[in-house]
Symmetry: D4
Subunit: 172 residues, 8 copies
């Protein structure tokens, strides 16, 4: 891990990177030190425990893990760690992401994974940010601004649509 | 809210209490100050914003919200708050909890809800505990012990089964 | 709201407009004053109550709301309003619209949403028209004509197919 | 039809009555003249058109139709009528109501059915009441009171739970 | 109906023709007189009964009906007729044909529809052919030949693959 | 096979008999000679071909086959036979009959199975009756009477409900 | 492991034992040395690697693993082992076993799990027996006898039903 | 069968070859004699028994069967054979492979099919390799190397990503 990493973004395969890279981007736009890592529950299972120990001892706070199909990575990280694990179900070729959603959300008592929407790694990042906010007023302040900006953007679109009408609005 | 409440457990209706009460019980067994509250997104929508403001200003850290069917409560609390919201899909009479799971997990970009397994309010509590651990070494220590105890229990069952055999084991 | 608006068509994001614009078009072809509005349950939750109050006091009769994923907008409008709310589930990238359909249809007792087919904002408009017909014979008359025209079109296709045969018919 | 019936509650079979009777009860508690009728799209198809003509000419405003399985009754009434049709998917023995929900909600362009939650005939009644409210301030007033009462009940439960605690509350 | 039509192939809309035309083609290749007709349960409901009466009195033996979404056409034809009705669920834009499959297959006791695979209008034609075979040895003979040809084709592919190997086989 | 059997009702296991026996009962009430047979695609696969040959040569007209789970029996009978095969998906312990429905309905081009609703062996029998009607006016006449009786029963319930009111009606 | 164990039957929790015990019973009836073990992917993850090493070095041939919900146990054993892993999806309270089926079957390339039907631990045992048969003619012989006995039982039921008739048969 | 074939890869139609060819490729890269064969449960049912007898008597060890829709091929091969059968559900046009998955996995007691992920014929090959490993240390050794290579590849990607950063990594 890089020094002082606060959030690790993990995925099982390079093919998950186009979905998961948005998590890193979002975290960095909040100034949060992030490490994006490839680690497979199924292909490098012997690295799970070691990675968790390394991350826990180096002070990582939250782990975000994305996986598709029989998505075991978030749940196995949760099994080995005491840190909060956020799981991102990744849509794959056959079942539209339903398999990954159930494999991540339906964890047994004792080992929760905080599941977000299919392919929504940005929301995983925001959830990590909300968690980090609890101990850092500066992040909370940024997050409040972020939510206000989201709100402003919708209100801006609302006004623009009201002014331009549907046709003109869609043209832009 | 009660003084110094750290986690609020919210549900939309008294009929959700048998599922949600385990969240409160788990949190209290970790010594975390908890308030269990009935608040409906659909029947008391005007209280959403006010409740969130009250909880945020009184220092609540995490909100756990359980809901069934078109489960809007966790998502609406997330809309109004900067705190991390943990959602518990509650199984209702018709669709086995699939409706609540999708209504809670599939939140849009910008407004995450940390979704746990259907009816698993205990896992919601444990996730809250993991989040609180980040700022409180004592809780983290308790949580490590809790995980060890889970592990020990499985190992105990493993040994007992090995010693007694299936028939004898099932009789006890 | 524009003066004398009868139906408000609401959606959470500009990305919903290509689906929802057909509602406005249909309503206007019936001469019904319509306002198409962007308002997000998740990003502008503080505007929900205010918007409803404005619409109710200015005499709006029916609200049509489209949303995808964990589609909360129709249900939250229903929570704040006494007006009939018509919900349009919007198909998004992962679950083919099933998530939005369940999030909109499975509302709890006390707070109904009139759900139509996935992506079918035209049917939402027609349902609004049927509701407005109850108090306005002119609209009812137009709607009867609309249904007759639908019927005529099918009968026209029927005759044309019978006359031309399949190959020729498909070429045109 | 009984004289001055405002809402007709239709179902395909006597076995649907235990679910559908709540619609009639709710409507009558609002003082709305209701007729509860057995009429099957599949077993008495020749009565569909005649019944609709009778209801339309006698001044009925809204039709509520409940059906299970390949639930065609609401859609066929919608095909024959210009009145707003509210459909109640009824849960049957095999697919948990999903079949009825899709058969009612997924209507084609031109012929909407206002679908409510599985088995929720009470919500169908409330939606009818909201529709009737548009032309009758007295009903709207009652409906506002109904919503306030729902709200009060939740607030009452909220207070009681806060005062009694979970165990005591559940005992009562 | 055309004179001596044995099988009528019905669909609700011209947009169903690309899927349904294969039924007509298959039937005609067996020398069976076929009429392909547009008739909508939802847009021309008043023609259902009349069409059935016309078909029954003119000696039609089997009806094939294709429909998508809340697919009511096969079931309504079954309601009005004593003839065997074969239903073809048509895949539409949102739910992959699952909605149509359930709307057609899950008919109530007393009114069966013989459901075939999603979009498989050829199989509907073959099922009609099997039914007509019962009273016509010549058709049965043709159908036996058809099945043998299917079998031969698979056996031919089997031999070719065995001889050419995978790469060469796929190139052709 | 018994002499002059017209319809064979097949199932894979004695545990299917409670569902499938209604097919035999219905057929016999129409005076159709029926043979109810246990034959498993999975446990007695070597009897499939032989049984089909026996049935075809002895003049059986229609085969009804019920199966649950990975329901192969109807499809395999269709593979070996030129007779129309009617498939009844049987609900088993885990997936509510959805597995059997898909395994029976989704047959490939060339080998149709006429699928009816989950557990609805009565509808399978009625479909067989409709098929036999094509060559036997007496059966058609009985089937018309059957449909009229269904209709009368609904109309009777309709009148009784209208006369007695809901409470009194439900008591009887 | 017990000396010379050929098949290990693993499950995550004592609550899985009523489903999984049939695997052990079936294996033992074939004279195969079996060890039934509790081992949780989520609660004792540190034992996964060690257990696999122990089993592999002591000569275990096949591992059967049962799990419910987000069923990770079979997949994680497959990740750590070169032995064939057979997975049994266990039905739990909410989603009828669909979650476990997808979590076990949808494994990524490189790490297969041989998935059997929901709750069908007997079939897992039989699959293990088929695998062991490849190197042991005596087991193959027993398995052939087992299949013949299954077949005989169906044929016996077939004859009994034919002789007794449905009513009498069901009474016994 | 070719001389000394160890694994037969079967599929029902040439259209399945693009998915199934990877099984053969994988097996051959392990030096395992493979025969890829077209054989349809539905179109060449009379060849099922004969093919199985031929394969069993010529010493084939494992059969891999791919099928889509109402996928009967794996289950029927399992019915006729004592060999382990591995089933590959193939995704077809309408239901995303869910139909094939359920048709293959949900086999009844007595006749298991080892089901792998949708379209994952490579995993079917690897499972066959694991089974063959039990009697052949050389194959086991190759399989251990294969797993190590998978692991190395992930570790290589991990290092490369760590060194290059996301943008640079994705460019390559």
């Amino acid at each position: 891990v890089k020094a002082k990493t606060q959030v690790v973004v993990v995925m099982g395969s390079r093919s998950d990177l186009p979905v998961m890279k948005e998590a890193g981007g979002t975290l960095e736009s909040f100034g949060i030190k992030t490490d994006t890592v490839i680690l497979s529950a199924h292909r490098t299972p012997h690295l799970l425990k070691k990675s968790i120990e390394e991350w826990e001892s180096s002070g990582v706070d939250v782990i975000i893990a994305g996986a598709g199909g029989a998505a075991h990575l978030p749940g196995m990280l949760a099994s080995f760690s005491v840190l909060p694990i956020i799981g991102v179900p990744i849509k794959s070729a056959s079942l539209n992401g339903l398999d990954a959603l159930l494999s991540i959300a339906q964890m047994p008592s004792g080992v929760p994974v905080a599941t977000v929407a299919i392919n929504n790694s940005k929301n995983a990042a925001l959830l990590a940010i909300q968690i980090l906010s609890l101990g850092d007023k500066a992040i909370e302040k940024k997050f409040r601004k972020y939510k206000e900006a989201l709100s402003k953007k919708v209100e801006g679109d609302r006004k623009k649509l009201s002014k331009l009408g549907i046709k003109e609005f869609l043209r832009k």
